[in-house]
């Protein structure tokens, strides 16, 4: 696992709207605990959509689906345990930490904010995300970053096959290995991979790492809480992106689709 710092000290990626520290929020001292052993997901999300506090702690999530979805305030939310599908879905501005593993589609379509998974993530992590930073300290399964549209994703471990499929914008950083089909039909997303890539997807190619890419990668690693030195020196990463050969229909591309 990557040496990651405490999320409270992590800084956000350039261009990501700042999340105020809870102490600076109107009611920053107040911590509301929602225990899903006795409360419902509906009650949790209703509270988070009309928050009375700036900090929340969710206990006994027990793998429930749709935890902390549609949050659109700069809240700080800690989920103490494993979460099911679509945890932090469509997050817009909150800092959400899952102290456990997550199911399919964590932070799907995130707009802004920070979502951090202390454990592993299932399929389609960060799918279609449009902004913000998703940090997965463990590994992510298939289709990580599928159709991503501006989100930044940093994975401490490996990603499964077909990751960054049709990825349109944003950056995907993988500190481990990537499965087959990486970046298939990719558009303008930039992929940084430290380990080995399986067979690359259609129209995905390795590209040279220039100074601006090393600087960008260092910023992303720092934002995720990883010191970009030593084993995590940007020089150890390779960059992948679109060859842009499939941007227009052409008969000679028929075997590529």
């Amino acid at each position: 696992m990557a040496p990651l710092s405490d999320p409270a000290t992590a800084t956000l990626a350039a261009g990501t709207p700042a999340v105020p520290h809870p102490a600076t929020a109107a009611d920053g001292e107040r911590l509301v605990t929602v225990d899903l052993a006795t409360s419902s997901v509906r009650a949790l999300n209703a509270e988070l959509h009309a928050p009375r506090a700036a900090r929340y702690e969710v206990r006994h999530p027990r793998g429930a689906h749709a935890l902390a979805v549609g949050v659109h305030a700069p809240l700080v939310i800690d989920i103490r345990g494993h979460a099911g599908y679509y945890c932090a879905g469509m997050n817009d501005g909150a800092t959400i930490t899952v102290h456990g593993n997550v199911g399919t589609g964590v932070a799907e379509n995130m707009m802004s904010g920070l979502v951090r998974v202390r454990g592993d993530a299932s399929q389609s992590a960060g799918a279609t995300g449009r902004g913000g930073l998703l940090v997965i300290e463990g590994s992510a399964s298939m289709r990580c970053g599928i159709s991503m549209k501006g989100i930044d994703i940093v994975v401490g471990g490996d990603v499964g096959p077909m990751s960054a499929f049709m990825a349109q914008a944003g950056r995907l950083v993988v500190c481990g290995d990537a499965g087959d089909g990486l970046g298939d039909s990719i558009y303008e997303t930039r992929i940084y991979l430290r380990g080995r890539a399986g067979a690359l997807g259609a129209d995905c190619v390795e590209k040279p790492m220039r100074d601006e890419h090393r600087a960008e990668l260092a910023d992303l690693l720092r934002a995720a809480g990883i010191d970009p030195v030593g084993e995590y020196d940007p020089a150890r990463f390779r960059r992948y992106g679109s060859a842009r050969q499939l941007y227009h229909f052409a008969a000679h591309n028929s075997s590529a689709y």
Binding site: G70, H72, G89, M90, D92, A127, H248
Partner: protein, 448 residues
């Protein structure tokens, strides 16, 4: 064969039914270009359709309602199974999903204006929600598509309903296309794509893979929107019986079934013509699925694909639909394929009544384009007026038929009001062949 000169036949020439002129032209075009034909619209082939059904107006055994005097209701409530804010539409004819990108912003605004004037809904498409559309639409259904272009929680909360799109009748199993000519800066920005590329939308959703996952996805959408919005599930008509059952199992409030006559902005011709089933064949399957679950009318059914007249509306509803949606017909109402553009269609190698190159973005009517000069030809206010007029005519026509069948509300139309004039239509629609009690494929014993 009208429009063709008589000379070939008079000369003893005979056209092949297998290799007719359109087929010959298609082969020649393929040989010349090396790419398949991409076009807009729906299936053009002749299919069993609503035209093959007739109503049994009242006489001795049924009691009609007085036209123009006795009330025939038209309203419909959509999505009251789970949503705290179901849609209550004044008429059961809605506007189907068509994207900003495929259509100009003016056209989208006109659809919103027209629909709002008569108290019905319009629908976004594979390009996100535009402010023009939201502001001019009293009821706006926000599509949730595999591409998720422009998807955002703010627009989800601003929507009146959410339509999870699994497919459409013109291309069940296929993703959207928008060719580079139509990827203007605004379209590209809304979709987070480079300007001018040929856009290929995904055909599968990126974060769920089957009906069990869809149930969780719908739960998420409900949670994001605090259980306010009706959730529709739209499928292209293929294995409709099973698809509707699974959509209901996934907790849909409304199921939308789009037959193969339903249009598209850009898809391969071979896909449009050869994948999917006719609207007529899909409706009874959907109704059977809902009925077996005890949820017919509780989960509402919206049918689209080839709705043109009030008779089509009435027939779809008599077969069990709660509402219908129109797309191609709405574009025609806006001015698509109008003879006044004949000269320009000719310059594009087409003709009024034949134009289907929506993918090209050079629409003389200014509807299926992103060219500012062409788009400016469509006045959204006047376009809205035409849409409202057309929707009113559809509704009044359907009411005229319903009254003749003795129905005080459009929803009271029933299969027993219908017969078929072809065996194929009788089998598909599951109504008797006219003058008989024979429903092909059904067990013996009719109501005669």
């Amino acid at each position: 064969m009208s429009g063709y000169p008589l000379e070939p036949a008079a000369l003893g020439l005979r056209e092949s039914a297998t290799f007719d002129r359109a087929t010959i032209a298609a082969i020649q075009r393929a040989a010349e270009t090396g790419v398949y034909d991409i076009r807009g619209g729906g299936a053009k082939r002749r299919l069993p359709h609503f035209d093959d059904l007739l109503f049994l107006g009242a006489s001795m055994s049924r009691y009609p309602l007085e036209g123009y005097r006795e009330r025939c209701g038209t309203d419909v409530v959509l999505g009251d199974r789970h949503a705290s804010r179901p849609l209550h539409l004044d008429i059961p004819v809605t506007i189907a999903g068509m994207s900003f990108g495929a259509l100009s912003a003016q056209a989208k605004e006109a659809l919103g204006r027209g629909a709002s004037e008569v108290g019905t809904s319009t629908t976004t498409g594979d390009g996100g929600m535009t402010p023009e559309e939201r502001e001019q639409s009293k009821y706006l259904v926000y599509q949730y598509l595999p591409s998720r272009y422009g998807m955002n929680p703010t627009d989800l909360r601003r929507a009146d309903a959410i339509e999870v799109v699994l497919g459409q009748g013109a291309k069940p199993g296929g993703g959207g296309m928008l060719l580079g000519q139509k990827i203007s800066e605004r379209v590209a920005e809304m979709r987070t794509l480079p300007v001018g590329i040929d856009q290929r939308s995904a055909c599968r959703h990126p974060d769920w893979t089957g009906p069990d996952d869809l149930a969780i996805k719908i739960l998420e959408l409900r949670e994001i929107t605090d259980w306010e919005k009706p959730i529709y599930v739209k499928v292209g008509a293929t294995r409709t019986y099973y698809d509707v059952k699974l959509a209901v199992a996934a907790d849909a409030d409304v199921v939308v079934v789009d037959g193969m006559q339903g249009g598209t902005a850009a898809t391969q011709d071979v896909f449009i013509e050869h994948v999917g089933i006719p609207t007529l064949a899909a409706i009874p399957q959907a109704v059977q699925a809902l009925s077996e679950l005890g949820l017919h009318r509780r989960v509402q059914l919206i049918v689209s694909g080839g709705i043109r007249t009030g008779a089509d509306v009435a027939k779809a509803m008599a077969l069990g639909a709660d509402a219908v949606a129109i797309g191609t017909a709405a574009l025609i109402a806006l001015g698509d394929n109008h003879p006044r553009h004949a000269a320009e269609y000719a310059r594009l190698g087409s003709a009024a009544g034949f134009y289907d190159d929506y993918q090209d973005g050079r629409d003389p009517a200014g509807i299926t384009t992103q060219d500012p000069q062409l788009a400016a030809r469509l006045d959204p206010v006047d376009g809205g007026r035409r849409i409202a007029n057309y929707l009113r005519v559809l509704t009044m026509e359907a009411q005229a038929i319903a009254r003749a069948c003795g129905k005080a509300h459009l929803r009271n139309l029933e299969p027993e009001d219908l017969v078929a004039v072809t065996i194929e239509a009788a089998a598909m629609a599951r109504v008797p062949l006219a003058g008989t009690d024979w429903v092909p494929g059904q067990t013996a014993g009719g109501w005669l």
